[in-house]
Amino acid sequence: MDYLTIIQILDSTVRLATPLLLTCLAGLFSERAGVVDIGLEGKLLAAAFLAGAAASVTGSIWIGLLAGVAGSLAFSMIHGLASITFKGDQLISGVALNFLAAGLTVVVGQSWFKLGGRTPSLPTDARFGEWNLPFSDALANVPFIGPLYHELISGHTALTYMALLAVPLSWWVLYRTRFGLRLRAVGENPSAVDTAGVSVVRLRFAALVIAGVLCGMAGTYLASLAAGFVKDMSAGRGYIALAALIFAKWRPWYALSATMLFGLLEAIGNRYQSITMGDFTIPVQFMQALPYILTVIILAGFVGKAIPPRAGGTPYVKER
């Protein structure tokens, strides 16, 4: 494996990790506020569909982004209605939303475009362009640093850079602002927040709004990358992001590492159908399953214990 190959794999890692990272941060805000969100997958899918549809009709991916975010937000609000307003089961609501997205995208897509549930493919100018950072071309031929800068650091879409920026931003919001303090508190002990005169409902909805926006960005990214929407195109990424969230112990910087790791696994799996190590061959299916296997190992607590926010999963009911 030469240097350029490594750079290329890492470059593909960043590409593949971008939607995971955005989705993982979405889950982070939601779960830190005490709302468990296994509906990430559905939001991702809904956003990808609406983004693909809007971009193909208008020819602008940025309008696609607006549509994707709107769709994801709508799903977030249904989740809030069920799990916050009506104090329903968050897990069941999430499961239902995943199916709703899987079904609706195809039913509506077929009705709109008559393409068997896909959207028309997006031409290059209706997709996110790659941003070439300054001096990218000039430095391309400099040994070692050149490829690193040209291939890996430069040349990603705006959303990738936004996703990377979202990491320190999330950290800052969570740990340095009043909103973050309240958000973390509501995920740990909502009655403490409530008795302090702050609305639990509003905070949790605020968290879901953030989650909706981030998922919307991630879904739009997927639609742009694949040049349009196809049925079930999220392909379990919502669940991988959920796994990454556990892996990251619900912290922003760890979320970056976890999603990069899972992105790397996917990148390697895409490049090599099987990996041979001496006499032993690692099948591609193993690489695909590795994020899930790793998450189970983490959950089992054999490698560091992942402690979720204490109030996660339970609707807040005032005590008498």
Partner: protein, 365 residues
């Protein structure tokens, strides 16, 4: 003190929830420019119009009874098993191995063996999440989701590398021997002079599923184990006080749950396909969640809910054929049913409770 009569809780609320779900589904159909009444007619015709259609409806119903019971057993122990999909897939592997590697002389011998194969593999796939939940507190919802993916990768690997017929293009196992062929309704009803369509996949597994539902009732409400499962599901601290071992209950409840999911494979793998194909479960495991929720985790409710989803599934297929409405419409309906019967329960319950309290007050006055 009771706010509502029992019948309202057990029948009225689910009924209203389902009506709401169907109402919304109707709106979806209208939104895509189709006629809901026409759609329902097509679906009813497609699901019950002739014995072929009925045969398909009951075939799907069989799958959903198994997965619905599977989800419900776990639910009684307050465990949310989202892993039925993977457990049923592994059950398929178990059934396939039993059917492929033993030259069975007759289905009556093959079936019990296949049932054991499916149940054991399904249970085994549920065991690790169960054990991790019981011993390490790893959230079973997450681990079972993960195991669905891991299971799907595992089946893909085994099919591709071990079970695939060499030279064949499709990733599926060889066809099972004739001795592993389960009698279909056509074959079962012919001796009685009843003509049932030859092509319909419904088979003797349907009766096994009904037996499983009866067994489920006795297990949950009449045996000590069922008593302990329900007690644990209601209150873990109380269960500990009563000398009920939480680890044992979690593991056993999940093993039964996984086994029931695995049993589904006698229907789809042994009964219908007669070979192992990739993604044989086709989402039946997830539909089990809707079936259990709608059926209020009671076998009668589950059988009825499974029948409803069998109808939706088969009718939905016909819908895509005749009305060019994608069969994913069924997934939408499934989602809405889960949403309304599961997560939005309070939306229906709270106004009803108020209504009943007002009625009671009137009665007293």
């Amino acid at each position: 003190m009771n706010k509502m009569p029992k019948w309202a809780d057990a029948v009225l609320i689910p009924l209203i929830s389902i009506l709401l779900a169907f109402l919304l589904s109707g709106l979806v159909i209208m939104a895509i420019g189709k006629d809901p009444v026409m759609a329902i007619k097509t679906m009813v015709q497609g699901a019950f119009g002739n014995s072929n259609n009925i045969g398909y409806t009951l075939y799907y119903t069989t799958n959903f009874i198994f997965t619905g019971l599977s989800v419900a057993v776990a639910y009684h122990a307050r465990l949310f098993n989202i892993g039925s999909e993977g457990q049923a897939a592994l059950g398929g592997l178990g059934v396939a191995l039993v059917c492929l590697y033993v030259p069975w002389p007759h289905w009556a011998i093959a079936l019990p063996a296949a049932m054991i194969g499916g149940a054991v593999f399904g249970a085994a796939w549920a065991f690790i999440p169960a054990y991790l939940q019981a011993k390490r507190g790893s959230h079973i919802v997450i681990t079972t989701i993960m195991f669905n993916f891991i299971g799907s990768a595992l089946i893909g690997y085994i099919l591709l590398n071990y079970l695939k017929v060499p030279g064949s293009m499709s990733t599926e196992s060889a066809r099972f021997g004739a001795g592993a062929h389960l009698p279909t309704f056509h074959e079962m009803l012919a001796p009685f002079g009843i003509e049932f369509n030859k092509n319909a996949p419904v088979n003797v597994s349907f009766l096994i599923a009904l037996l499983a539902a009866v067994g489920f009732y006795f297990l949950i409400w009449r045996t000590r184990l069922g008593y302990e499962i329900r007690a644990y599901g209601q209150s873990e601290t109380a269960a500990k006080y009563a000398g009920i071992n939480p680890v044992r209950i979690v593991v056993i409840a999940m093993l039964i749950s996984g086994a029931l999911s695995g049993l589904m494979a006698i229907n789809n793998v042994m009964g219908e396909a007669e070979r192992l194909i990739d993604n044989a479960v086709e989402g039946a495991g997830f539909i089990g969640i809707a079936v259990a929720l709608m059926g209020r985790n009671h076998p009668i409710g589950i059988v009825l809910a499974a029948l409803l989803f069998g109808f939706l599934y088969q009718g939905g297929g016909e819908l895509s054929f005749w009305e060019s409405i994608p069969r994913e419409l069924v997934v939408v309906i499934q989602a809405l049913v889960i949403m309304f019967t599961g997560a939005l329960d309070n939306m229906v319950r709270a106004p009803l409770e108020k209504l009943f309290i007002a009625l009671n007050k009137k009665k007293e006055a």
